[in-house]
């Protein structure tokens, strides 16, 4: 299995999902070699072998590569630059991500949106050499991400020659080149697990290179796991994949006891919470717009915006423009205990995502006893009947739903009670059983 992150060092839902899934797969007696670009220490699961891609020696048998980049800049002549010899670290032509000044220095997923340099292409010339070396990985989502995925693929090919396994299971596009390399080197079946697509993350302004990696991955795979029907439909319509090749495997949630929640003093009786990256995908402006309407009916309501991301300055500006700053609380990016603290004061959680492949946060809110409103454009809406569902662009309806939850206590208690009961059925064990069956069909 090839992943990109694994708890405790995670920056998004992908690592959490990989943890839940591998843990439950081992209960099904599946032996797992889990490869990550970089082990940060603390990764531990019984019966799972972790492999640090940065420590895998790669043999270069009588080969050497000279890479030149051809850079086309509109209005200028094509130039050829010799970038490096012996292929190890290739300069990335991905520029650093936008608006870094508003976020923590470590680049997390919340900064996930790409800006491209002018088109470049590479020409590789092989030269003989004899050596072994290892690749270096940051294991994050930094500016070198696309190059890291290529190096990761080389590691995958090398590993494949050393190890015995029956199936290759890769998680999201960063690992797709690795999956394909492993598939080509071993001839074993490849499962690509799609936790999100470029269209979810970027709307229509997709990075064509990421898209191409995704498309190649889903095309070359032997089977695809999509985290929701929503995602499956995107794969069918945007990636032209046959529906039969895709199985929906909803995420699970790791049970957590409600009693463990830290409690902080209440900031008001009506607290509406947004928790997620402030990016296009998560629809923060719809939240602000709905909040404006809710305040007409509940002037004392408070709105927590927990998260950071490239839209952060615009969201703050919009709130200020509407003169609602006194009702809004921006917490920045939150982790662990601080998230639980936010839950402890929230009357309702709102996830107005524009396109959410799954969306584990609403389930975490439910686990913490907070009723949730989610967009219909989310995978979680497919598995959680006990949530209020709205179309993300219908801010009137969203505001209406928020008002209703604030106004009618019996609505809130019924949502809480039923949803808390429902998530008992949304387990990784169930998902693992399904995936194990798919493994058996492919072997």
């Amino acid at each position: 299995m090839f992943g990109w992150e694994f708890p405790p060092h995670i920056s998004g839902g992908l690592g959490t999902a990989c943890y839940g899934l591998t843990k439950s797969l081992t209960k099904e007696n599946v032996e797992i070699l889990f490869v990550v670009p970089k082990l940060f220490g603390g990764e531990n699961l019984p019966r799972v072998d972790f492999i640090d891609a940065g420590k895998v020696p790669i043999k270069i048998n009588q080969r050497k590569e000279i890479i030149t980049q051809q850079i086309e800049i509109p209005g200028e002549e094509r130039t050829e630059v010799e970038v490096s010899i012996t292929t190890i670290e290739v300069e990335s032509n991905l520029s650093p991500y936008r608006s870094t000044s508003y976020q923590s220095p470590v680049l997390h997923m919340e900064s996930w949106s790409y800006t491209l340099d002018p088109t470049t292409s590479e020409v590789t010339t092989e030269v003989e050499v004899s050596d072994t070396f290892t690749h270096k990985f940051s294991g994050t989502y930094g500016p070198d991400l696309i190059e890291e995925t290529k190096r990761y693929a080389e590691v995958a090919a090398a590993l494949t020659r050393e190890l015995a396994f029956d199936i290759i299971h890769v998680h999201d596009w960063m690992t797709f080149p690795a999956g394909i390399a492993a598939q080509e080197a071993s001839g074993k079946p490849l499962i690509v697990h799609v936790h999100s697509t470029e269209f979810d993350r970027s709307g229509e302004n997709i990075d064509p290179r990421v898209y191409n990696i995704e498309k190649e991955g889903v095309e070359k795979s032997d089977h695809i796991l999509a985290v929701s029907k929503w995602t499956k439909d995107i794969l069918v319509s945007r990636y032209k994949i046959e529906a039969d090749k895709i199985s929906v495997a909803y995420n699970g949630i790791v049970p957590k006891d409600l009693k463990d929640l830290p409690v902080i003093p209440s900031i008001g009786s009506h607290v509406v919470t947004f928790l997620g990256r402030l990016t296009f995908q998560k629809g923060p402006f719809y939240f602000v717009e709905a909040a404006r309407k809710v305040l007409e009916k509940f002037p004392d309501a408070h709105f927590i915006v927990a998260g950071s991301g490239d839209l952060f300055p615009q969201v703050v500006e919009r709130v200020a423009q509407l003169k609602l700053s006194s009702r809004f609380h921006f917490t920045g990016f939150l982790k662990g205990d601080n998230i639980d603290k936010v839950w402890s004061v929230s009357s309702v959680y709102v996830m107005p995502s524009v396109s959410e492949p799954f969306g584990i946060t609403p389930l975490e809110a439910i686990q913490a006893g907070v009723p949730v409103i989610v967009s219909n454009q989310s995978g979680v809406a497919e598995v959680m009947p006990h949530a209020i569902k709205v179309d993300f662009w219908e801010t009137d309806v969203l505001a209406d739903a928020i008002c209703n939850v604030l106004a009618y206590e019996s609505l809130s208690t019924t949502l809480k009670k039923n949803s808390l009961n429902e998530i008992k059925n949304i387990t990784w064990d169930k998902v693992a059983k399904k995936i194990k069956n798919i493994y058996h069909e492919l072997i």
Partner: protein
């Protein structure tokens, strides 16, 4: 066929329920205070017209045709007041076809609460008022006076039985719930533990649901197969009570499933044999002796697996919504405004609460099938917003009270009684003739 023959034979009572609620229009939280319209007349008209076309009219036509040919066919209907009112507004031809059936004398109409409500769960005499309203409505439209009662969704307990008996009814339909029958067969007439005048029909829910819910699952069900089940019932079990929604025939089960052919075929097959005799409820009461006393200390109904009140009052939202509606009674009745009162009663229709059920699995699917809302939460929100706006309207009335409003309300209530009492008093007389 003389009377002594009939009394020794197995009776089959087929009771069909006709009901359409007045569904609410989408009403936002932000609409509260707008004093807007609450009921989605357009949607209600469309649904009533569709069900009339697919079910009521063709099924009534079959029934009328067969009764003319086979006078031994007997059927029992209960048509809710909200349905009658909507037929009058939207599809008078449906009302006309029921009238034609009533005129055959082979069809008995049951009494129920006019608004198909949970009034039996409300304090005071709202239940009695609604039953009498319905009785008057049946007389007005079909020229009949009912002597047998069915409560909304067959909700029943001993206390309701007492109230029903006090209103002058001599029979009541309930569901043949196992925990009430305690191993006894549903195929008998039973009797209220205290009120000897009240006979109880216990529905065979298995045989009823074989048609209503499992028709298609049976491949589909054939008349021959169903008749063989009926004929397999031992001869000493003398009363088979089948009850289901009339909309089963053509709406819940669509026409292309062959359900209407089954309906016609079953009635014909029953007419052509003489082991089982079809009877109206009143005939069965006249011909059969109650087998045993049937005590029902706790509420039962015909809904969901639980067969209790949980379909309408099972979760916090449902109870909250119902309580809020009930709490308006005093204010509304202190205003002499029949339009306001009528709209409040439309809001009592059990369907509104049924849509708010958060049950899962098969029962949840049935709730969802009937609901015009995407989820129970939308159903609750919409209802509460309407109710809040309605409260707002009512409170405005109080600020501008009519002169002598209290006296007026009391007077109009007295007039209602005046109007109704003879109806059921006469009916009471009739029922003692035998």
């Amino acid at each position: 066929m003389n009377l002594s023959d009939t009394t020794t034979k197995q009776h089959l009572v087929l009771y069909l329920q006709v009901h359409q609620p007045r569904r609410l229009r989408p009403f936002r939280f932000f609409d509260i205070g707008s004093r807007g319209e609450y009921f989605d007349d357009k949607q209600n008209k469309e649904i009533v017209e569709r069900v009339a076309r697919q079910s009521y009219l063709p099924a009534n036509a079959i029934l009328l045709k067969l009764i003319k040919k086979y006078p031994q066919i007997k059927v029992v209907f209960s048509v809710s007041g909200v349905a009658i009112d909507q037929f009058k507004e939207y599809t008078p031809e449906v009302l006309e076809s029921f009238r034609a059936l009533a005129n055959t004398g082979n069809v008995e109409f049951l009494s129920e609460t006019d608004h198909h409500s949970l009034a039996c769960m409300m304090p005071g005499d709202e239940f009695e008022i609604q039953v009498l309203d319905h009785t008057a409505k049946l007389h007005e439209h079909f020229g009949v006076r009912p002597s047998v009662f069915r409560n909304t969704e067959l909700i029943y307990n001993d206390e309701i039985g007492k109230r029903v008996e006090a209103l002058g009814f001599n029979g009541v339909f309930i569901d043949g719930v196992d925990r009430v029958l305690h191993g006894r067969s549903p195929h008998h007439l039973y009797q209220h533990p205290d009120q000897q005048g009240l006979k109880i029909f216990t529905r065979n829910y298995n045989l009823s649901d074989d048609i209503a819910f499992r028709f298609a699952h049976h491949g589909p069900l054939t008349v021959e197969r169903y008749m063989s089940w009926l004929q397999g019932i031992p001869a000493h079990e003398d009363l088979i009570t089948l009850a289901m929604d009339y909309e089963t025939f053509g709406e819940h089960q669509k026409q292309n499933s062959g359900i209407l052919n089954f309906f016609e075929g079953l009635l014909k097959a029953l007419a052509k044999q003489d082991r089982i005799v079809m009877a109206t409820a009143s005939e069965a009461i006249m011909n059969l002796k109650p087998r045993d006393i049937l005590s029902v200390p706790h509420y039962i109904s015909w809904a969901d697996r639980e067969r209790d009140l949980s379909a309408w009052l099972g979760n916090d939202m449902q109870r909250d919504a119902f309580d809020c509606m009930v709490r308006m009674e005093r204010d509304i009745k202190s205003i002499d405004d029949s339009d306001l009162l009528e709209r409040w009663r439309w809001l009592q229709t059990s369907d509104h609460f049924y849509y708010m059920s958060t049950k899962k699995n098969d029962d949840g699917n049935v709730h969802a099938y009937f609901s015009p809302y995407p989820s129970p939460y939308e159903a609750f929100m919409n209802y509460m917003n309407v109710l809040n706006d309605f409260s707002y309207q009512v409170s405005e009335h109080e600020r501008h009270p009519l002169n002598n409003q209290k006296a007026g309300a009391i007077r109009s209530e007295a007039e209602r009684r005046e109007l109704h009492v003879p109806t059921w008093a006469m009916n009471l007389q009739n029922s003692y003739e035998h």
